[in-house]
């Protein structure tokens, strides 16, 4: 049984059955096999802050969702959409990535003392 994990920072869903091919995580990759330093590709939240969520009552299965959905590709370093998820929609590449932002922000905090 594959599980799904929801990011408490932004709602991003990691589905073990689907993986994140656009981010180098192949389908059927178990949560435990994802590196501990992995962060949410959308908002940079740490792996430890994602929580498991059930397949909810009445929700279509992955196969059903795949069957009715046209998959869109998300490419590029800043692609921040729900990569690979059959219900995911991709509008365009992200103009803003919280992970990059946080890393920059942290660097500024640690190195400049501006704030």
């Amino acid at each position: 049984m594959f599980k799904r994990y929801l990011c408490l920072g932004c709602g991003f869903l990691y589905d073990e059955a689907l993986g994140l091919p656009e981010h180098g995580v192949t389908p059927r990759t178990r949560w435990a096999d994802i590196p501990v330093d992995w962060v949410c590709p959308d908002c940079g939240t740490a792996k430890s802050a994602l929580e498991v969520v059930a397949l909810l009552k009445g929700e279509p299965s992955v196969a059903q969702r795949r069957a009715r959905h046209t998959r869109l590709a998300s490419t590029g370093l800043n692609a921040s959409y729900v990569a690979g998820h059959p219900d995911g929609v991709i509008i365009r590449h992200s103009s803003f990535n919280f992970h990059d932002y946080q890393i920059r922000h942290r660097w500024i905090l640690q190195n400049t003392g501006i704030w």
């Binding site: 599980k3 799904r4 929801l6 990011c7 932004c10 709602g11 991003f12 869903l13 959308d42 908002c43 929580e51 498991v52 969520v53 059930a54 909810l56 009552k57 009445g58 929700e59 969702r65 921040s80 959409y81 729900v82 998820h85 219900d87 995911g88 929609v89 991709i90 509008i91 992200s94 103009s95 803003f96 919280f98």
Partner: protein, 194 residues
């Protein structure tokens, strides 16, 4: 609170979360990928369900300070099509009763969760009862004035969370404005549906 011209949050992505914003003061410019550019003033509120994916931007492009309350909720179903709804709380016609802004009640903006968000403008010395299911939590936040919730006194911008409460009876000491939220049936941490 966003202070000054140009502050806020740039365009950023969400999934599944239901984002609620209630404008208290100033002007909020909300842009989302459903195709909505909305300008909200005091009393306006929106429910933006990110579902299968949505981006939004929250900006103060005016000179005046902006005060907004944001509430996030998880829906009872994931990856549904994104949606945006907007409502208005009219202080003049909504005084003296607990007014349900969001929830599955007539006149409220619907939400895909057993969740209610209510607002009250109450008179001094008045007592208001809020009935809730003991399995549900309630979160109270005093916007203005003061209130007594059981034995607890809350002042301006104080808040409290209540769990396993059968009902709440609160007395207003002063003119004040209170929001009560009750979140029901949250997704359980162990991943099983309740």
């Amino acid at each position: 609170m966003f202070t000054g011209n140009g502050t806020g949050y740039n365009m950023h992505p969400h999934h599944n979360f239901i984002i609620v914003a209630i404008v208290l003061r100033g002007t909020l410019t909300h842009i989302n990928t459903i195709g909505k550019i909305d300008v909200l003033g005091p009393g306006d509120y929106y429910v933006f369900s990110a579902g299968s994916g949505g981006k939004h931007s929250e900006l103060n492009i005016e000179r005046e300070d902006l005060q907004v309350i944001y509430v996030w909720a998880l829906p009872d179903r994931l990856m549904t099509p994104p949606s945006y709804l907007r409502g208005h709380f009219d202080a003049a016609t909504s005084a003296d009763y607990i007014h349900c802004l969001i929830g599955n009640e007539p006149g409220s903006l619907p939400i895909r969760q057993d969740f209610k968000l209510a607002r009250l403008i109450g008179g001094a010395g008045r007592i208001y009862a809020y009935r809730t299911n003991p399995q549900h939590g309630v979160y109270l936040f005093v916007l203005e004035g003061a209130a007594e919730i059981g034995a607890t006194r809350l002042g301006r911008r104080d808040s409290m969370g209540l769990t396993q409460a059968r009902g709440i009876s609160d007395q207003l000491e002063d003119r004040r404005d209170r929001r009560a939220t009750a979140r029901h049936r949250p997704l359980r941490r162990d991943g099983r549906s309740p």
